[in-house]
């Protein structure tokens, strides 16, 4: 589908109409602009992560997932390695998490990215509003810094594995 293999694929999910749930799409859009000069960064933003994204993952050298987290401290920015789920989820058709997507890429395409990271921002509120809570707004500079460093690091990883 893509003529060029993404060295770093950024996958974000969230609903921009549900307050802090939109932080993933916001950060991914920011990264798209920040790395617009680089053909090696591909950004895909969806409301939910769906199974066909596994094909994109299978074609990418590294992957950065971005999502809000409802079970983290509000405003906390966390970057952690993520691996394919050992056990496959029982029910999924419309939304998957990062571990399940990686598992699908493994099982369907026998492919895994060289490195996969998950960036999460703890959500404070998920009400119907097209703005972030004060807590998440205050965390955006740190999240952008972490995101930028993560992408640069993933591009390095991809370059070394080339």
């Amino acid at each position: 589908m893509n003529t060029e293999i993404a060295r770093c694929l950024i996958l974000a999910c969230g609903n921009t109409l549900r307050e802090d749930d939109g932080v993933g799409p916001f950060l991914a859009s920011w990264a798209e602009e920040r790395f617009s000069a680089s053909p090696n960064v591909r950004v895909l933003i969806q409301h939910q992560w769906t199974p066909e994204l596994s094909a994109e993952i299978a074609e990418a050298q590294t992957v950065l997932f971005i999502d809000c987290a409802v079970n983290s401290i509000p405003g906390s920015v966390t970057l952690a390695p993520v691996e394919a789920a050992a056990e496959t989820p029982r029910l999924f058709t419309h939304h998957l998490d990062a571990t399940a997507l990686l598992a699908l890429a493994r099982d369907y395409y026998s492919a895994q990215p060289g490195q996969a990271l998950l960036l999460t921002i703890g959500a404070a509120s998920l009400q119907l509003r097209e703005a972030f809570s004060d807590t998440v707004s205050a965390a955006l500079p740190e999240a952008q810094r972490t995101l930028e460093e993560a992408v640069l690091s993933l591009l390095d990883t991809a370059r070394q594995r080339k």
């Binding site: 596994s54 989820p89 029910l91 058709t93 419309h94 699908l104 099982d107």
Partner: protein, 473 residues
């Protein structure tokens, strides 16, 4: 003592639903109902909005088939504007609608139903999913994922977004097609053909083994309705509606969108938030009918594309007249996909497809407008009234799932009566009852214009109202 079985939520559907099976004193099925349990109200909250906002507002009803809402809504708006859109815009919309049909059907067939067909209705529910499919037939699974991606990528190329693209507007589309995008889509076509051929060949090999299910999966005579062209070929975006009887005789033909409200009524039942559409001259429920892939193939004499026409001929050999079992929605869905790929290829080679004139403009010239299109799961109708400033004063949407509602309920009852005996049932039996609903690929979000997540649940209830068993997923 009679009992009730509840399947809550019914899984692998687009939306929230529940099935209740009522048993008599002997434990045999007395009645069964398919409940749609979500409520929303798009028709109400659109009142007061400018009519030109309606396509993008209505598209938010659904994340699976937003394009159908965009198109039906834009057409209703164009009736208010009294404009005819440019040829190129009509062709581009047709392609967008077909791309959506392909991705939606791929989701329905490969993600939601192929686990039953490939692994068996009685297989372990823990693996009866897309992961199980890859274990049993990785090529089929990958083909399904690729077909969904094919449809989504066309939507993304045309509308800039995979979901809720804003490209379709009253009067046409916002931007013409670029040559690079046309070439990219044409480059994807050969793989799409290979994947649908693989799926059709596989389906035709296994279909006979599901004859017992086909016999009781909503297998009864009914009316069928869908859009059709003047040459009696399948149509998704324009054309007019045809309604046929169970023997294939034409009941009504050439129904335009502004005639729709005169011939189609909507009944309400207390157990569901989805309405029950019916053909008014026959009344409710006698005038209930089916829409969607099965109906489209039953009403049409041809697909209008060479490869799909070959498949249609084979499909029509399944019965002497219209194919009645809803199990064959699966087969019809695959033929729809093949047609969609062929038609997209035809559209892209239209000499005017790169034309820059893709939008007509006008203000309010009429105070009422209607629009209709084929959504993946069947006919979709939008009807608006506006004041002289173009603000919506009234809106009504008639959704495919509402038009299939009576058939789904009858189908659930038929399957439950066949499989549930003496109050005894297994997970595999409940899965078959769910699978009847799944054949229709209902969109419960669309049917209630509803908000939220997607699971569905079965309850087994005794004759004195006691809940005997329940399957909740």
């Amino acid at each position: 003592m009679s009992q009730t079985i509840t399947i809550d939520p019914v899984t692998r559907l687009e939306g929230h639903g529940k099935i209740t099976v009522y048993l008599d004193d002997q434990g045999n099925v007395e009645n069964a109902q398919f409940h749609v349990t979500q409520v929303r109200g798009f028709e109400k909250f659109s009142e007061g909005r400018p009519f030109y906002e309606m396509p993008s507002l209505m598209a938010r009803i659904c994340g699976i088939c937003p394009v159908s809402h965009l198109i039906a809504s834009a057409k209703a708006c164009e009736a208010i504007m009294s404009v005819r859109i440019p040829h190129t815009a009509a062709q581009l919309r047709r392609m967008l609608n077909l791309a959506q049909m392909i991705q939606s059907h791929a989701l329905s067939f490969f993600y939601l139903s192929s686990p039953d067909l490939l692994l068996g209705m009685e297989s372990d529910p823990a693996t009866r999913n897309l992961f199980g499919v890859v274990g049993a037939n990785p090529q089929l699974g990958r083909g399904g994922v690729a077909l969904r991606r094919f449809g989504q990528h066309i939507i993304e190329l045309l509308g800039k977004k995979r979901i809720h693209p804003g490209w379709v507007i009253p009067g046409g589309v916002t931007e013409p097609l670029e040559q690079a995008k046309r070439d990219e889509i044409l480059g994807m076509i050969p793989e799409a053909y290979a994947n649908i051929k693989l799926a059709l060949d596989w389906y035709k090999q296994i279909a006979d083994s599901f004859k017992p299910e086909a016999d009781v999966f909503a297998n009864f005579p009914s009316l069928f309705m869908g859009l059709i062209n003047e040459d009696e070929s399948v149509e998704f975006t324009d054309g007019a509606l045809r309604l046929i009887d169970p023997r294939g005789g034409i009941v009504a033909d050439g129904i335009t969108s502004n005639q729709f409200p005169e011939v189609i009524g909507e009944a309400v039942e207390p157990y569901s938030y989805t309405k029950f559409a019916y053909y008014k001259p026959l009344g409710y429920p006698e005038g209930s009918y089916r829409v969607g892939p099965l109906a489209r193939l039953n009403i049409a004499q041809s697909m209008g594309t060479p490869l799909a026409d070959i498949e249609l001929k084979q499909f029509k050999q399944l019965a002497l007249g219209p194919v009645q079992s809803s199990f064959y929605y699966h087969h019809a869905r695959l033929i729809d996909i093949l047609y969609g790929i062929e038609k997209i290829e035809q559209i892209l080679t239209d000499p005017l497809i790169l034309d820059k004139h893709v939008r007509a403009t006008a203000g309010v010239n009429r105070l009422e407008g209607t629009g209709q299109a084929e959504a993946p799961r069947g006919t979709l109708h939008h009807h608006y009234k506006v004041d002289e400033n173009g603000l919506i004063t009234w809106a009504n949407l008639v959704i495919a799932t509402g038009q299939n509602n009576n058939a789904m309920n009858k189908g659930v009852l038929q399957a439950a009566r066949h499989y549930v005996k003496n109050g005894k049932f297994t997970e595999g039996i409940l899965n078959r009852v769910e699978a009847v609903v799944r054949t229709f690929d209902p969109c419960l979000s669309c049917s209630t214009h509803a908000l939220g997540q997607m699971p569905l649940a079965i309850s087994l209830v005794s004759s004195d109202g006691e809940l005997v068993d329940q399957a909740i997923r």
